[in-house]
Amino acid sequence: MLWLYTRKIGKVQAIAKGIRKIKSRKAGHLEPFTRVNLLMARGRTFLIVTQAETIDAFLNLREDLLLIGYAAYITELLDRFTYDEDDNQQIFNLLNKTLGRINTESDPDLPVRYFEIKLLELLGYRPELTNCVNCGSEIQAEDQFFSISMGGALCPRCGPKIPDASQISLNTLKYLRHYQRSSYTEAAKAKLSPQLNRDLEQLMQRYFTYFLERNLNTPTFIRRVKNRPQQG
């Protein structure tokens, strides 16, 4: 069973007969994280891939365990948050561009953080970052609170009153806002420090797991590969 995200019909599951066989001509074209041109036919229950041709195999990405982990992370998010045959060209473009960026850029952090915030927006879960989600007052240039259940930032007066609110630095908030309203080129101009990257990553993952009501598989994999626990 193949899991595909297509430009025309969104997420679909399809079968391609015999691709596990080592001599199959389709096999190499239907590897994970590959952009392909497909010809499919509708079977009784599943779509059937009849022809496959690689457009971009994102080969660099496949040479690095951590990059494989990140590619798996963005596809896992997509899978968990989208429904079958619910087409969305913007999501398709975001996926395609993000895989390309992970593949070619020296640091995968920015493309992945940018993907997270843009995906939330395209899915309709855009966090509110300019006004307090409780009282509506405009967020000032100071450290704030953030509530996942309320979906956004809280002013320092409302924050302590909301049970699940946690503190968020002004800097984290600024980056979130910047990514939310910028093109990727614009977003890339602001340097992302390792500390800030960790804060954003944690916040976004808490946000995603709140909506999914369950944990994601890939962040654990990424952590294990980063820490190399088997050493020694």
Partner: protein, 202 residues
């Protein structure tokens, strides 16, 4: 139609198997219902002994007969003791054995790294492989994981982990098309891949 529980139970059980949908499950069930009793009895006995009479070799983690600590390959002193071929599954051992082109011993990881399915290094027999390399006198490790994303990722990870030990690390040659399963390869392809194995450099 509401089926009697024993029939429905067997259909449900068959449906759990890979490659078997509800239709094939019903067909198999009704076939057994009308077939001679011995067929069901033999099948039931085989299924029970499959689990009770097999175990994992404590050295290479291939399947072996219950009561044995080591499999036939590990306990065979005629095999090269200093080469270990690392594979994902027991069926891969079988495929390589059929070629008669490898005379060392194996290590079965029991899977491959898969970030999507959440299979990390701790879920595979990697720690056990590293321990073997530390305690036995191993000259070469052949990484024979599948030529797929998961197999390659596993090979990359193993290289990272094995490099400090100084052991020679090789990977099956790329005569094999990407994305396949080793168990389906024909013997010629496998033999060529074995002969053309290469150093795994940076």
């Amino acid at each position: 139609m509401l089926l009697p529980a024993p029939i429905q139970d067997l259909i449900n059980a068959f449906s759990q198997l890979p490659g078997i949908g509800p239709k094939s499950a019903s067909r198999l069930t009704f076939y057994l219902l009308t077939a001679p009793d011995e067929l069901s009895q033999d099948l039931a006995a085989a299924l029970i002994s499959l689990k009770t009479e097999t175990t994992y070799c404590q050295t290479c983690f291939n399947i072996t007969v219950t009561g044995q600590v080591q499999c036939e390959i590990c306990s065979n002193s005629d095999r090269d003791q200093d080469v270990i071929c690392v594979v994902e599954e027991p069926l891969d051992v079988l495929a390589l054995e059929r070629t008669d082109g490898f005379h060392g011993r194996y290590h079965v990881l029991q899977g491959a790294l898969s970030p999507i399915e959440g299979i990390g290094p701790d879920d595979l027999k990697i720690r056990e492989l590293l321990a073997r390399v530390d305690s036995e006198n191993i000259g070469e490790i052949i990484l024979a994981t599948n030529p797929s994303l998961e197999g390659d990722a596993t090979a990359m990870y193993l290289r990272q982990q094995l490099t400090p030990s100084g052991v020679r690390i090789t990977r099956l040659a790329r005569g094999l098309p990407v994305g396949g399963d080793l168990e389906y390869a024909d013997q010629h392809t496998l033999l060529r891949a074995l002969a053309g194995r290469q150093e795994m450099g940076d």
